[in-house]
């Protein structure tokens, strides 16, 4: 009797295992189906683009995604497969309500608002747009101002040290400095948190900030700081300020300004610093080197490679620009999913995502990857 019960139990276990296995397979299939949601990719050349001035300010399409390329900028209407593009000669910054083009010497800042006439902005610095906010980084990198869309100044703040790293969300501005100090400012430039340089410390150990990244909700920050060792330090929002939550040493550090960003889901940060590309898992607090020169993607031997983090492209993906300094330099956009290459776009110069579409910007046009859900 006892033996029969045991057999029944065993059969039940086997049955349960089979059911679990079937469910696992089904769920896995569902997981990969996410990838299959990419329904189509359409290439729109700049030669057939419409003038962005034709976008109505009163009725902007909800499916517009802004992009900044290398000589072209504009908007993609992903619902109607329409490209609006304008050329710029030197530099530019763009957001959903317009753009500012400027020259290297910062003597001619031209603001273009959708549906309005272009206007000149008086300011001596470089415009930098992030999270629907517009900033002007002062020409000496020792000050920053936030601007309205018409270029008027909302607030301005000066620092005693040159800015070496910056990131912003709709609610928070994070700034890192040459002497290793950091500041987190609120919407009106009010101080949320500051960590000044300790002048009492050994002055031969400056912990310069090379990069800073804020999570999309502004509740977490990652700071790349110091040499020998170089560390990634994590901060989290606590009340109205921030507190340091963890830190992790990097295997090797370089005194180079870095670009870095959080994935949209906040799971990790990717840091690009010269040739190096580093993955930092914010949940489990570990780092992994993704590239050092020729390690990531197909790179010509002997070529000098630079990586730049472009930004999050939804879910757990981040876009990275790889530039190989050959003659002429070649570019490639890598879409990394938890640091692993998900897409490789040779010849691309930029990428952005929104409204269920991934936008890959090339020198001659823009590719819309529809159904982009990560």
């Amino acid at each position: 009797m006892h033996h029969r019960n045991e057999m029944k139990k065993r059969r039940f276990h086997i049955f349960a295992f089979i059911v679990a296995a079937v469910l696992f397979v089904l769920l896995s299939v569902r997981g990969t189906k996410k990838q299959e949601q990419i329904s189509e990719a359409i290439f729109l050349p700049f030669s057939s683009a419409l003038d962005p001035a034709s976008i109505s300010r009163q009725n902007p399409s909800p499916s517009l995604i802004s992009f900044l390329g290398d000589g072209y900028l504009g908007y993609i209407d992903s619902a109607n497969n329409q490209l609006y593009a304008a050329q710029f000669s030197d530099r530019a910054a763009i957001d959903s309500s317009g753009w500012i083009s400027y020259d290297r010497l910062a003597t001619a800042l031209q603001a273009f608002s959708l549906g309005s006439k272009p206007s000149t902005i008086a300011g001596y610095g470089y415009p930098w747009f992030k999270s629907s906010r517009r900033f002007l980084i002062r020409a000496d990198q020792m000050g920053i101002a936030e601007m309205h869309a018409d270029g008027s100044i909302v607030w301005e703040i000066e620092f005693p040290m040159p800015i070496t790293a910056i990131d912003a969300t709709p609610t928070t501005l994070g700034i890192g400095f040459l002497d290793g100090s950091i500041r987190f400012l609120g919407k009106k430039a009010e101080n949320l948190y500051s960590e000044p340089h300790d002048s009492q410390q050994d002055s031969q150990h400056i912990r310069t900030v090379y990069g800073i990244a804020l999570s999309g909700d502004g509740r977490s920050a990652a700071v790349l700081r110091g040499m020998s060792p170089q560390k990634i330090e994590s901060y989290r929002r606590a009340g109205t300020g921030f507190v340091k939550s963890s830190e992790r040493e990097l295997p090797s550090g370089a005194p180079l300004q870095a670009t870095m960003c959080y994935a949209e889901d906040g799971s990790h940060v990717v840091i690009a610093q010269g040739e190096q590309l580093i993955y930092y898992n914010t949940k489990k607090n570990y780092v992994r080197k993704l590239a050092n020169g020729a390690a990531l993607g197909n790179v010509a031997s002997g070529a000098f490679v630079q990586h730049f983090v472009l930004g999050p492209t939804g879910g757990n993906t981040i876009a990275v620009l790889q530039v190989q300094s050959q003659n002429p330099p070649t570019t490639k956009v890598l879409i990394l999913k938890h640091g692993i290459i998900e897409r490789e776009e040779p010849g691309a110069v930029s990428a952005s995502a929104g409204k269920g579409a991934l936008i890959i910007v090339f020198r001659d046009g823009v590719e819309i990857v529809k159904g982009w859900q990560q």
Partner: protein, 322 residues
Amino acid sequence: MKSTKLIAICFLFSVAFLGPLGAIDFQVPAATDIAGFGTILATQGSSNAKELQKTKPGFVPRSDIALKTEYPEIKAPSSGTVIYSQRESPVASVFSFPLGGAVAILHPESYISLVSGLALDTVIFNQAGRGQENSVKKGTSMGQAIGSGIYPERYFGLRLFDLKNSLWINPLFLASWLQDRTAPVIQNVWLNNENMRGNTPIELKTTAPKGKYIECQQATYEVSVAAIDSIIPGSRSFSAPYKIVIMLDGKTSIDTSFIAATCKSEGLSFLGNPAPSSKAILENGAYRVGRIPLQRGQHEIEVQVSDYAGNQSILKASLMVN
């Protein structure tokens, strides 16, 4: 004669004010044009300075010097360790910072130098980028001043930070090659009654005919001086002067200079003014140099403006205080 004066000033400056700076082996490259420390930042390479007077960004005294050199190759001014470098992005889709290609070096004497506006030498950049040896020797090529960031072609920026005293130091005191033969030009001097804001300030230059008194009320006046100096003879840039002294009835009332800028949490303090640095400048570009109390009676005021070589311009006026 002027060179001897300059050397003497440099020596006194080193000994009296900056102490250990005299020990730093720092080479400021010889220049054919200079926009000096304290010069209003926005005017260098900017065509919209007048508009900037309404909106503040960039209308501040500069804490670096912008130099134009005969040859574009820029060498490390002193030995040390590279603690930071930034480079312009090779494509416009990635934001580049305004200082362009820049290298910060930490020197053993606890100074940081920051050279900006360079196209960085790949050797320096590669070295740093691969996490190799980050030390540089004085004279190592850092890059080419071929136009990077906000600097025009052949110009680059140089700034020097004193870590122990939290000061941005005027690097021109380390330019031993400097030979300035022309005195600064005093464009105007204003006295602004602090208790009567909104009143037209008293202009000393245009309202001071010789032998006649300028009438004003008894009060404390803020003194502002508009003056320019051409550091390199025949160059196109005008700089801030070095030193401004106000003598009242033969006694020194104000003695201020662009020797350094002090770091405060609100930014930089120039000429003893509170931070941020925009507080050191009036909307018309004049420097706020200090305050003088004027009691009833007759007074003689003398404004002395000097450059780095000791060349001096003087403006005298007689005041009748009621």
